[in-house]
């Protein structure tokens, strides 16, 4: 089995570097920044690190149910496919800046895609 992209790009230390890049993009992007406008930026950044760790295949024990719960309030505020698309785009930009190959970025995007329905509270919960 090949190692995860998480390991290939440097594990936890790489996530610490990625989170500032990613979070800065998210806050600067008017398509999605309203969802991240919490006052507690440090907590938000930690959640973004959890997101990055998960989609790069790093250690986590999130389930589809967790993803529904984590985003349920956002769905109530209007979260839809366009926002997921924007997040996946910003994710790709972030990884590119960190030197991750296009091929690997596609794999990461696929992991993000795999929970799209859960993030948007669609279909059946697992």
């Amino acid at each position: 089995m090949s190692t995860s992209i998480y390991d290939q790009i440097g594990g936890a230390a790489a996530m610490d570097a990625a989170v500032d890049l990613f979070y800065r993009k998210v806050l600067s992007d008017d398509r999605v920044n309203e969802f991240f406008d919490g006052v507690d930026m440090e907590r938000q950044a930690a959640k973004q690190k959890a997101f990055l760790t998960m989609v790069t295949g790093g250690p986590n024990s999130y389930t589809g149910r967790n993803m529904r719960d984590a985003h349920a309030k956002l769905v109530a505020r209007g979260l839809d496919d366009s926002h997921v698309d924007a997040i996946i785009e910003l994710l790709g930009e972030t990884l590119k800046e960190l030197g991750v190959s296009d091929d690997q970025i596609k794999q990461v995007a696929a992991i993000a895609e795999s929970v799209r329905d859960d993030v948007l509270s669609r279909g059946k919960a697992d």
Binding site: M15, D20, M41, A50, P59
Partner: protein, 325 residues
């Protein structure tokens, strides 16, 4: 097998179990989410014993100094005592002196709380004997005999109105310390930028004096802002500090500054962004204290301008708390 101590209970740590798993097995609830060391939901505090480095990965320097760690990835190899973050008992103290300063600020000095292990810039909760409680930042340097608080006096403020009339010798209690807004001596050369409005100067005054006492050599800029020039307090103290230290620059900003009063009319957020842009952003550490609109707005703008989030320590004074007290 190592033991885990929590709230006066000794728990066996089953082979390879984490602190989170051990507490849960004992029926103790700890907030958690990713259970993999990424989201920081399970942050706890070590009281005694060693925390494996693995459980401190990604934890900020200030939190590390406070012994914070991630319970979900902490597998102790020796006995460890832990607590929830922020829990503490009340300590008795006595009002030693109260001085009226410009800007309706009361400088309150407390004695008798030598037991309090704190760092300048952290905050405490001040408790009156009837239970009235308000948070105030510590303007004094950790280890000083007297605690120094800067309290904005509001005519209708429950605590501040009472303090304005309180005589030396009155007994109070304090709980704390809390917060991560303090000086960390991990690099004596890094530039420091301290920005505060109103009594946001209190934590900054503690932080800047701790930095200087620690022998900080990098450039330190302290920006203190107020709407009216007449509301800027502690100007002589700050001028004396700057005169004694070549690496410290103090800039006062007030919207009605005329230019010949040794102040600038440039708004404090513009000054802060200007200074941050000119500094080595990788090394810079920023402290933001005072009005929430300024603190939260500036934190976001500095972050977007390229200052790492970890390097911005912020303490927003919420209106119901320090501001309205």
């Amino acid at each position: 097998m190592p033991k885990l101590r929590f709230a006066e209970r000794d728990l066996e740590i089953a082979g390879g179990a984490t602190v989170l798993e051990t507490l849960e097995a004992a029926g103790i609830d700890v907030p958690n989410s990713c259970r993999a060391g990424a989201c920081q939901s399970c942050l706890m505090q070590a009281v005694a014993g060693e925390v494996p480095e693995e459980a401190r990965r990604g934890v900020s320097p200030a939190k590390r100094e406070l012994g914070h760690f991630l319970a979900c990835v902490c597998r102790p190899t020796a006995d460890l005592e832990v607590a929830r973050v922020g829990g503490s008992e009340a300590i008795a103290a006595t009002i030693a002196a109260i001085r009226r300063c410009p800007g309706d600020v009361l400088e309150v000095r407390l004695r008798g709380a030598e037991r309090l292990d704190y760092r300048g810039g952290q905050f405490i909760t001040l408790l009156r004997d009837d239970g009235l409680a308000r948070p105030y930042s510590l303007a004094s340097v950790g280890g000083a005999a007297e605690l120094e608080l800067h309290v904005r006096h509001f005519a209708d403020g429950a605590m501040s109105g009472w303090l304005a009339r309180a005589a030396p010798g009155v007994e109070v209690a304090i709980r704390g310390p809390y917060g991560e807004c303090f000086y960390v001596a991990d690099d004596l050369e890094r530039p420091l930028l301290l920005v505060g409005t109103g009594t946001g100067l209190a934590p900054l005054y503690g932080i800047v004096r701790e930095a200087l006492a620690a022998g900080h050599r990098g450039p330190i800029t302290l920006l203190h802002g107020a709407r009216r020039a007449a509301d800027l307090y502690h100007r002589d103290e700050l001028a004396a500090l700057a005169a004694a230290h070549d690496n410290l620059e103090v800039v006062a900003s007030a919207l009605d500054a005329t230019g010949d009063d040794d102040m600038t009319a440039t708004p404090i957020d513009a000054l802060a962004l200007e200074r941050a842009a000119a500094a080595d952003r990788g090394a810079l550490r920023v402290y933001l204290c005072g009005a929430p609109a300024l603190v939260n707005g500036l934190r976001r703008r500095l972050f977007i301008a390229g200052v790492p989030l970890r390097s911005i320590l912020a303490d927003a004074f919420l209106p119901a708390a320090t501001g309205g007290a």
